[in-house]
Subunit: 167 residues, 6 copies
């Protein structure tokens, strides 16, 4: 069984990595699909996001990384994925995922979507909060793989992200 794990991975966190590791025990081959946001709003460019995933998943077998920019169901079909795998952390995730799931089913009901609930230590972790902490010069090494810590270090002037206090 081939699984597709899609996301923006901007950047990959330990929470994503945990879902990836658990997914490799469920499927025989795991495709990590990195969304190519054409609208360029991502913090890290697509190539960097892919590179950080590659470096962080070196220890895992049967993984391939692709990029995509169309509909998730089309991406799954083109890559011959049997199932789509997604992580669930909380209610907001559930609302969003349910919406996506139901709509995707109406676009193509041949691909099943399965959910893995995040481990409790990653329940509150997100790419956004990692960027927020890094932007404020906090220590992110507990939250992301080493490859990501390095990339943040290399960027001298941080591209501004909207502060989590703004909302």
């Amino acid at each position: 069984m081939i699984g597709l794990y899609p996301g923006s991975f901007d950047p990959i966190t330990n929470g994503h990595l945990n879902i990836i590791e658990r997914s490799t025990k469920i499927v025989s081959k795991l495709i990590i699909g990195v969304l190519d946001n054409c609208d360029k709003k991502s913090f890290f460019p697509l190539a960097d996001r892919v590179a950080m995933i590659r470096e962080s998943t070196k220890h895992l077998k049967n993984i391939s990384i692709i990029t995509f920019d169309g509909l998730l169901v089309d991406c799954a079909k083109i890559n011959k994925a049997d199932i789509i795998i997604r992580g669930l952390r909380n209610l907001s995730d559930l609302h969003f995922e349910t919406q996506l799931d139901v709509i995707n089913k109406k676009l193509d009901n041949t691909i099943e979507i399965i959910y893995l609930i995040s481990c409790d230590k990653y329940l509150h972790l997100s790419s956004s909060i990692v960027k927020e902490i890094a932007l404020k010069k906090g220590d992110i090494s507990k939250f992301v793989p080493e490859a990501v810590v390095e990339r943040f270090r290399r960027r001298d002037i941080f591209k501004k992200t909207s502060s989590i206090f703004n909302t």
Copy 2:
């Protein structure tokens, strides 16, 4: 009894249409209030949003379509609406609507707001997800009236909307 059903309708979906059809059985006259977002962030211009509603509600009687840009309670008063009608899909809706309801009541407590819960097949449908799918060249014909499908077809270059994956 005159009812006001306000929204951005950017664009109208089958979910909106379902609330409109059900509302016409409750009130003797239904006014559809289209928000004129002065800040121009809408995907379709106001005139188009009104036109799509008009074409999609031709089969219904006792409907009028207006545009407004001030407070909802003022719009209701000016148009002599007795009640405001709103659709509820989920928790996020409920939070937002409760906030709006309570605040509106404090601004003017003479107009009642009633809620209709979306049919299950429209529970996960929103204007945003329709735009997302259309932007990615997916088939939206199951989710919106024919008038909307046409409008999307006519637009050759899509104005970009933020990808739902960005969050």
Copy 3:
């Protein structure tokens, strides 16, 4: 338009009364449907629950009080109600009401259900919390009509209700 406002009213609270008063401005006749829980688990007997509603709604016109024990949709049909009215306080209410709404629609889709969101001062009020406070000899006069305060006073030995701390 005839509206049906169903519930257990065990006992009626100021929150229920607020929904009733607002409903009378929407419908020309309001039927208050009191559920006859055959399984006898209610705190107040059916007759008392009806009497407390009657005494608390004396100032309102065009109200009738009935009891019922079957399906809500059947009760609505028999009493020629055009719409069913329900109050929404929070998420738990929304889940429960959505479930009920969707299922009722599948049993009979000719009767519309409309929701009124509770005023903020009644958002946290429920019959259960009133019984809890009364049981613990607290002052409930801010939360229920005078008719209910009296009934609690008349009962010397309170029938035990499960403590809200048990969960």
Copy 4:
């Protein structure tokens, strides 16, 4: 891969059946685990619950039905299941399932739990609401397999369940 789908199935609904059918496409063998509530609070006896599942899943291959009364993780281990499959309908489910998932992981972290989100038409369906409707002589044939409709028909005197209005 062997999957375990546990539950009370009191009785099996079309929602359960939908999860079962979808699961058979993910795993090579599906074990349906019926909880033997020793405390006898179930509406249908264990044997009946198993029989209704058997009759409703005749069209599916590679399914086996077992009963269990200990910890879910022990049941999975004894039956050599590689993954546990659960359905998610809404927030209450998510809370409960997350709790169960996290606690089970701490008891045994070798078995993965995956979630399937209920189809929209089954999102509001539960065994409890089916029993409620049946108790009130409503038509349940849209909500459960034929085997369940029959069983309800055969029971002349319904064992009382607590009314959903009681809460």
Copy 5:
């Protein structure tokens, strides 16, 4: 400042203990208030619940343990508590606590209630799930203090609790 931390503690868990330890850093004296459920529905008798708390908090200073059976605000007043402390794990907790908070404020607005959010490793822990696991002969030693593990061991025949699968 004197703080009151109320609960059923049936039995005390590591999650409760964590809130107690953190509370002792906020208040100069902490009173642990154990609810005396007169309706006898608790799993452990009141004396046992108190004893388990006593044994589990030996390492902490400035703690006293009391029992109470009336309103929380009355308990706080009698014991001269300045604030009431409560733990928050999730949405259900929030709903319940908000309701309690608002109602208590209306009964007596001189006592402030403060909330501590549970550590992530205790977010999914509850007295109920501990009893469920113990009842099914699972290992609870990761979830409760040693004093509680012992008490469960001493009870040969477990009093039945309702299975979490029943709902």
Copy 6:
């Protein structure tokens, strides 16, 4: 005990003021920390936001107002705060706050965060909704201190905020 109450206060509302007043009864000194959003997305400039807080809290003692732009935990440490105080209104707040709380604990677990639940009359109030109403020429005097009403009056041309209908 020194408390830190952080926020954007863009602008301060009666809900913020209520939390401030209640906090002064819990801590001996309260520091109000105003976030200096370097990205300039705030409606009122930092100096104005500070001034409005100052004018609105003149009646309170033992308050100091600071600005900060780094991590909340660093701000707390530099200012020798023993606890951080935050208001909780609803679910969205809880999600956000839990995430922040857990992550902050991992960055520095020596500072405790306590939550106060908003009074029911402020449960639906936010800086955003105040700006929305002011922008639409509605009356905000029930929702904010006089100092804020004045500031809005002085601004002839409102800087546009995104309409709450846009989402």
